[in-house]
Amino acid sequence: MSDHAPARSPQDLDDSIAGGIGESPTRPDGALKVRGEYAYASDLWAEDMLWGATLRSPHPYARIRSIDIGPALATPGVYAVLTHSDVPGENLYGLKIVDQPVLAVDVVRYRGEAVALVAADHPETARRAMERIEVDYEVLEPITDPELAAHDTTLPELHPGGNVVRHQPIVKGDPEASADVVVSGLYTLGMQDQAFLGPEAGLAVPAPDGGVDLYLATQDLHSDRKQTAQALGLPPEKVRMTMSGVGGAFGGREDLSIQVHCSMLALHTGKPVKMVYDREESFHGHVHRHPAKMYYEHGATRDGDLVYVRATLYFDGGAYASKTPVVVGNGTTLGIGPYAVPNVRIEGWGLYTNNPPCGAMRGLGAVQPALAYEAQMDKLADALGMDPVEVRIRNALSQGGTTPTGQVLDYPAPVAELLDRVRRLPLPAEHDSAPADIRDLPGGASNTTHGEGVVRGIGYGVCIKNICYAEGADDYSTARVRLQIIGGEPLAVVHTAAAEVGQGLVTVQQQIARTELGVERVNIHPNDTDVGPAGSSSASRQTYVTGGAVRNACEAVRDVLLQRVAARSGESIGDLSLSGGKVVSSATGVLADLADVIGDDVIEETREYHHRETYPLDEELGTSERAQVQHAFSAHRAVVDVDTELGLVKVVQLDCSQDVGKAMNPEAVIGQIQGGSAQGLGLAVMEEIRVDGGTIRNASFTDYLIPTILDMPPMNIDVIERADPNSPYGVRGVGEPPTISSTPAVVAAIRAATGKALTHTPVAPEHIIADIPR
């Protein structure tokens, strides 16, 4: 780290909040955030800093004939104008496939691709200079249809090797099986945005050793560092990263944004350089959720037992691969939902097109098929004349069951129980006359109905999501725990690189340390690359893996202490434990105060946590003994009022039952379920990036709408804890499932109210008015 951290760097968090595992202590960063005092990456500041700006392609697909930076460079106040020829290292990066240029060379593949950089003494100067960079483009016809990209060999190849990022079949049993009752459908999903509120931002400070210190908001410091060092041509140890306040992530901060650009400008100018995207640039500057087109066919017996599922899924990855390979992996392996099906054939395609790049977003690859398989389950129930919940329960996956990839679930899988519980949660009152307040009706404050045309509908959704990295990735995290006596009191410091992106990981880390070390005060060290990797705050994995690493490091510190006391007291180490700042013997009671045992020492241990090994999928059949380390399940019930004449929707109630294995912090678990459900509700009825010919048409929060408090209804939340014997404390990932099962539940409820097919999500008013009956 540089000697002087910039102003508005990560601040100390409250270390004096009590509460161990299973309690719900308040967040150490909560008061700062509520008071508006929390420093986010966009607040970073350094004396004499410059401002960076990024020139982006106005075309979805074009050849670059020439770039003239002369007029921009001549602008007073401009310190640097950089293009691809200034990239010091490899001009390519990527999370899974290294295919994306830091700055475009001779071709741009999406509207918004970075072409050149400017550093100037004022952001407005940088912006004006940027407009003086003259790029001569030869505009090309963009590829915008992913299904065509998969099959039309006459299309240009956007990348060497063609336009297919990943093609994965999954075959189980007899792929040609037939059945008495067959339902089929074609379902499409629009492009969702993570819509985090804190835009991409960072401050790069050139270091005397020729390296760079980068302060930023990200989901994964070490992944960023690896890619950034490669592009800068620097050894990783000369690229030091420190986390600044993260204003939401949801997957949108897994790919690089400002990292290399900001560092290049700082290294080139020898001055600190800050970059902050505005909202419009943010929409162009991060990946989105993959839109999908999904063909499904379900076959069942007349009794309602699923015989087969056949599906073909197309995921539009846009111009660069990002997480597309993983989306295809998750989308296919989880493509039939949490159901036991003897015969399966699924084919998943992830494609390159000239649409905006798509990558990680909460529920990665599992959100898309859930909309299709849950619509199919409702369709099947309809065809069978059965209750939709009964059909689901009848076919529900359970512990000991087998996934389409052949993996046997050796942990609880209470799918049927969740469905049964969610349907038993109390329903809202029917309103026979118009409610007193229009805000309780579709259209809300906009005063479109006083009850006219309003019909109620109820729908269900249930989902499966894999937790942690899969398909053979060595998934681990690292924690360093230090215990010392400060002011006569034991203080534990937990140091990891695991990103707090709003999910409450800092609180959980404190809780684990308090419980494992029997101390009250636990300080969370700012995240940086001085400690080993934690992996990304994604895949609902941090409480699992970083929680495991913190536990392991605490146990190591505890062992040191207990060994000291055992040696001194002659008691067996197995009889000793830590509690209330003391070493306690189960045989003889309190043996020593921690202050005496530690004295002036600093006891510090670093440990990793690796979860059980996973294995790749067979390329032809998709089989794998263990493709995924854990699965999580949630079930939603949505109650909606639809204004059937205007197509406006009010979600009246959204209830959820979810198995979380072990609720480390029950309040935080509820918060995750509420937040995930709101994000899923948004996808159901309003959230869509409108892309036309490769260009985003609604890059603002005026036209990319996310739910307000009037759109998000009260929830009944029913949390159950069926411990996973393989995970630390029995935890099961919490963050993603509620995002997945809420959307199909809301759409199903709208279908129930309107009788319309509604095969596209999000459902827009014009769909409800115009759409065909189902």
Binding site: R127, D278, R279, E280, A436, D437, I438, R439, P442, G443, G444, A445, S446, N447, T448, T449, H450, E452, G453, E645, L646, G647, L648, K650, V685, M686, R690, R697, N698, S700, T702, D703, L705, P707, T708, I709, L710, D711, A764, P765, E766, I769, A770
Partner: protein, 298 residues
């Protein structure tokens, strides 16, 4: 960018005369968005928030004069009982924070076809008072809008106020948005009954390049009500009359397909809103024929 901050109306007019390209700014809820999105780069901003009289209202000769700088929140709180249609529209503007800043004058100056305040002004036959160092003029609100985000102001003129008669009959406003609050209009409709004149007023938003009245619908309904003596002894309206009114409102629109919706949906929705709001105002008139309107329950 120059920043001019006059503290009197006279100074503001002088400033505008000397800097005809200056962009007036009041609450900034439109202007700042445009600047942030780089849609416009004014050479200078003329801040009107230092002029206290602009954020006031008064009553003269049976009409209300609403200062161009009166924020929506005050309009709702202080004039909601006398201008119920405008108050319902004002409640749909943005969030409470935006309503604390945003003004009717700013809404007019932006002249967006989607401006929430415009349809109620059209339905009530409001007039816009504009002023320059050369003098003052009153423009009927339908003459104020000349195109998409264009208006009839000369380059040295500023909007000083809106003149509008307090409601003499029921008024309603309805807005389609794809979110239940804080949403820009897909389309809007306003209706006002004027029993003293035996007339019905309408206003449509996001339905054409400018906000507009559905004049044929007004003529039809006013005629039907007068011919059948309904103003004096109101009865439930025939379905055919309500349907015809809705159809005529829809026919007055010439909406477009855009990122927020489709032309077909807008046309359909305008018809539905016209029928519903007509039902609401007529029910209210039948139940309280002498009422001067009442605040909506929202």
């Amino acid at each position: 960018m120059d920043f001019l901050r006059p503290t009197s109306w006279r100074d503001a007019l002088e400033a505008k005369a000397h800097h005809p390209d200056a962009t007036p700014i009041a609450g900034g809820t439109d202007v700042m968005v445009e600047i942030n999105f780089d849609h416009r780069r004014p050479t200078s901003l003329l801040d009107l928030t230092g002029i206290d009289e602009l954020a006031s209202w008064s009553e003269h000769g049976g009409k209300l004069r609403i200062g161009a700088g009166l924020p929506y929140t005050r309009l709702i709180d202080e004039l909601g009982d006398r201008l119920p249609g405008l108050a319902i529209a004002a409640r749909t503007v943005g969030s409470p924070q935006i309503r604390n800043r945003g003004t009717l004058g700013g809404n007019l100056a932006s002249a967006s076809p989607a401006g929430d305040g415009h349809p109620p002004l059209l339905a009530s036959g409001a007039e816009v008072e504009v002023e320059s160092v050369r003098g003052t003029r009153l423009l009927p609100v339908e003459e104020f809008f000349t195109g998409v985000k264009r208006h009839a102001l000369a380059s040295d003129e500023l909007i000083s106020a809106v003149h509008i008669a307090p409601a003499t009959g029921a008024q309603q406003f309805s807005k389609i948005g794809t979110r239940n609050a804080m949403v820009i209009a897909v389309c809007t409709f306003a209706i006002a009954l004027h029993p003293e004149r035996q007339r019905v007023g309408t206003g449509l938003g996001s339905a054409a390049p400018t906000p507009l009245r559905a004049i044929e619908a007004e003529e039809f309904l006013s005629g039907e009500l007068a011919d059948s003596g309904q103003w004096d002894s109101p009865r439930p309206l025939d379905d055919s009359v309500v349907r015809q009114f809705g159809d005529l409102v829809a026919r007055a629109a010439s909406p477009i397909d855009d990122v927020r919706s489709t032309a077909d949906y807008r046309t359909h929705a305008l018809g539905v809103m016209a029928r519903r709001t007509l039902g609401w105002v007529w029910d209210e008139y039948r139940n309280h024929p002498s009422s001067t309107g009442r605040p909506e329950c929202a």
